[in-house]
């Protein structure tokens, strides 16, 4: 099986540029990177067909070795169609991002940021619940910090009691 060096070099350059571009934060560049990756892969499939022979149209005089392998070409055709559809969809999304946020960048997940900033102390789970909750009981231990329902970081406040009204 002979290998076409030009194809290989082109493929390598396309992969390198594609990978560089999809690591960017700008969506348009990511899209361009994906397109380059798809095309590099198409060239890879093409080069697996081996020797570039005649068009694979059946002819009685031609021996089977003279044709080029038709299967990779069929695969490429399918993959071109698929990457075409995905590219069109990506363009749609990128335009929509621009309309909504006036930004061409991937945005952070707000919920993710919020969860990351949440302190490990949780009022519902971790607060010390007073044993006696009746209004007639004398509970001298948890009268100290009563005015601050927000101070959930200090575990000895009875913040479960305050949470609902806060």
């Amino acid at each position: 099986m002979s290998i076409n060096l030009t194809l290989l070099i082109v493929m390598g350059v396309l992969y390198a540029c594609g990978i560089y571009l999809i690591l960017e934060r700008s969506l348009t560049r990511v899209l361009l990177g994906l397109m380059l990756l798809a095309n590099a892969t198409n060239i890879l499939i093409l080069s697996t067909g081996g020797y570039a022979g005649l068009a694979p149209l059946f002819d009685k005089e031609t021996g089977p070795d003279a044709y080029s392998d038709p299967l990779p070409q069929a695969l490429i055709l399918t993959s071109i169609v698929i990457s075409f559809a995905v590219t069109a969809f990506m363009l749609g999304i990128i335009y929509r991002t621009w309309v909504l946020a006036r930004q061409d960048e991937i945005q952070d997940d707000l919920e993710d940021v919020r969860v990351a900033k949440t302190p490990s102390f949780d009022a519902e789970d971790d607060a010390i619940v007073p044993l006696e909750t009746s209004e007639f009981a004398i509970t001298p231990s948890n009268t100290s910090d009563h005015g601050h329902p927000e101070a959930t970081e200090t575990p000895n406040t009875a913040s479960t009691q305050e949470g609902g009204s806060a």
């Binding site: 999809i22 969506l27 990511v30 994906l34 990756l37 798809a38 892969t41 890879l44 499939i45 080069s47 697996t48 299967l71 990779p72 695969l75 399918t78 993959s79 698929i82 559809a85 995905v86 969809f89 990506m90 999304i93 990128i94 929509r96 991002t97 909504l100 946020a101 991937i106 945005q107 997940d109 919920e111 993710d112 969860v115 949440t118 519902e124 789970d125 479960t160 949470g163 609902g164 806060a166």
Partner: protein
């Protein structure tokens, strides 16, 4: 035997249904009738397929008149038909739920009417991926379902969905490119892409090339299945989609990745070359996933993390490559598809009833809607693996298989599996205690809906009914666990033996190469 000739219809019917539903885009009730009718017919057909292979046996259908090593074949065996039936049951329940939601909210806006055709295309892609016996056709199946899922993920085009959709699309496209590169290299190395033919020809390559191709395929499928180092896209993107869409994604899409991994491990690269790295990955997936779930306060995100975590169980079963392990993994896949989807559907109902899916803002749901509490409780306990349910049986099977295998790593995984199960229970109990058990007054910033008494018409009957149906189906998996385990073990035996699969595609005269047991080579330990 002849029933298998109907298997192309499992792909064709949904596609035809999608075309019809697209034509009826302005007639909402007709569109609903068409999509539900078509999906029911598909389900019926797939049940027939499952019955035809119930006692073992593998049949293949050649498409387009091209003989197997060149043309595309569809292969029906126990595993693929079981997956087909379970996935279609789940998709049908979700479709009915979605129509119920659409009817309740008034689906007059244009984007929602695109839901039905896209959904049917998604089902067609899933069926194609389950049935195909050709590596490139598997890629096409993946692309069909992924492209449909891109549209469903960004339905309506709101800000958060677009943000999540971008991540999802880019990650999926990268994994598809990796898969395509792997296919090209496999074709370059062997000159064929029919999986049965590959099973023979890949064994003739030298071990280094085999490992390269093996790892490339596993990485590509690992991204789709959300296996640990490649799973970060999932909890980021799934929760923002509409409730029925998240439900069907959680149930089906990752499992298609798991299915492809099972086929890779059993058919294309049998033996135990990569079992050790797979086990390590399974352990990390289980533990890291569930630790992520514990930190969440949004139910949808929490469930997405448990979804990632429980993929680890399936990979564990797969990595043992024994009949008991693989059989339990097959059972676990069927169980997990059902349970995870019902939990996401219930979350959709919680969001309607309580006005939010954040456990900080919910409370008192058990009193407000006891039915909703029951619908959440049963699949939640099932997911955590509490004894009578199928989740317990699946986990028990996996743990038994792990102990049977007896290597130190397998024992570590058994312990990891038990810990993950307990932590799942903890995560689920947090949701239960806050959203259902505590008083509504204890919730922070509760939605006004939460204060309204009685079922004030916010839970449409169709949505509750379809969710209840799916929960009952999940319970039925427990009741009929005996026959189901029999099929799962049978399918594991057939898959590990390989000869039935290869003979049904290439004819009985082909010699099946012996399994490559590479105990002394240990090339897989590069990680």
């Amino acid at each position: 035997m002849n029933l298998a000739n109907l298997s192309p219809l499992a792909v064709l019917l949904p596609i035809l249904g999608a075309a019809l539903a697209f034509l009826l885009i302005r007639h909402h009730s007709a569109q609903r009738m068409v999509s539900i009718g078509i999906l029911s017919a598909t389900l019926l057909l797939e049940c027939l397929l499952l019955i035809s292979v119930w006692n073992g046996g593998t049949t293949s259908v050649t498409l387009g008149g091209w003989l197997p090593p060149w043309g595309v074949v569809l292969v029906v065996d126990q595993f693929s038909s079981l997956m087909l039936v379970v996935s279609t049951v789940v998709s049908l329940a979700v479709l009915i739920y979605a129509t119920g939601q659409g009817m309740a909210d008034g689906d007059q806006e244009a984007p929602v009417s695109i839901f039905h055709p896209t959904y049917l295309i998604l089902v067609a892609g899933v069926s194609n991926a389950f049935l195909t016996g050709d590596l490139f056709n598997l890629y096409v199946g993946f692309e069909i379902l992924l492209t449909a899922s891109y549209v469903l993920m960004t339905l309506g085009g709101t800000g958060p969905r677009i943000r999540a959709g971008v991540t999802y699309v880019v990650v999926s496209v990268v994994s598809s490119v990796l898969f395509l590169v792997a296919i090209a290299m496999i074709y370059g190395a062997t000159g064929t892409i029919t999986m049965a033919d590959l099973a023979i020809k890949l064994a003739e390559l030298d071990q280094g090339t085999q490992n390269l191709l093996h790892v490339m395929l596993l990485v590509a499928f690992g991204i789709k299945a959300a296996v640990f180092p490649l799973s970060f896209w999932l909890p980021d993107s799934y929760p923002t989609a509409p409730a029925p869409v998240t439900a069907v994604f959680a149930g089906l899409l990752t499992k298609v990745g798991v299915y492809a991994m099972v086929r890779t491990e059993t058919l294309l690269f049998p033996g135990d070359t990569l079992n050790v790295p797979l086990m390590v990955v399974a352990l990390l997936t289980m533990v890291v996933g569930i630790l992520g779930a514990l930190a969440q306060s949004d139910i949808k995100r929490l469930l997405s993390f448990t979804l990632v975590s429980h993929i680890g169980y399936m990979v564990f079963g797969l990595a043992m490559s024994s009949v008991a392990g693989l059989g339990s993994a097959v059972f676990y896949v069927a169980h997990h598809i059902t349970v995870q989807t019902s939990l996401f559907l219930v979350t959709g109902l919680i969001e309607r009833r309580g006005g939010s899916s954040s456990i900080d803002r919910l409370g008192g749901l058990a009193k407000l809607s006891p039915l909703l509490a029951l619908l959440f409780f049963v699949p939640a306990m099932n997911l955590a693996g509490i004894p009578p349910f199928s989740g317990f049986l699946g986990k028990l099977g996996l743990l038994q298989a792990g102990v049977e295998l007896g290597t130190p790593l397998a024992i570590v995984l058994v312990v990891g599996g038990v810990v993950t199960s307990l932590l799942t229970l903890l995560a689920i109990a947090r949701v239960w205690n806050r959203a259902f058990w505590r008083k509504p007054e204890d919730a922070e910033f509760p939605d006004p809906v939460l204060k309204a008494t009685g079922n004030v018409g916010v839970l449409p009957r169709t949505m509750v009914g379809s969710t209840a149906g799916l929960v009952i189906f999940g319970v039925a998996l427990t009741v009929f666990a005996g026959p189901l385990f029999q099929v799962a073990d049978g399918s594991a035996r057939i898959m590990l033996d390989r000869s039935a699969y290869i003979h049904s595609v290439l004819g009985d005269s082909v010699e099946v190469p012996p399994l490559a047991q590479t105990d002394e080579v240990q090339t897989g330990d590069a990680k």
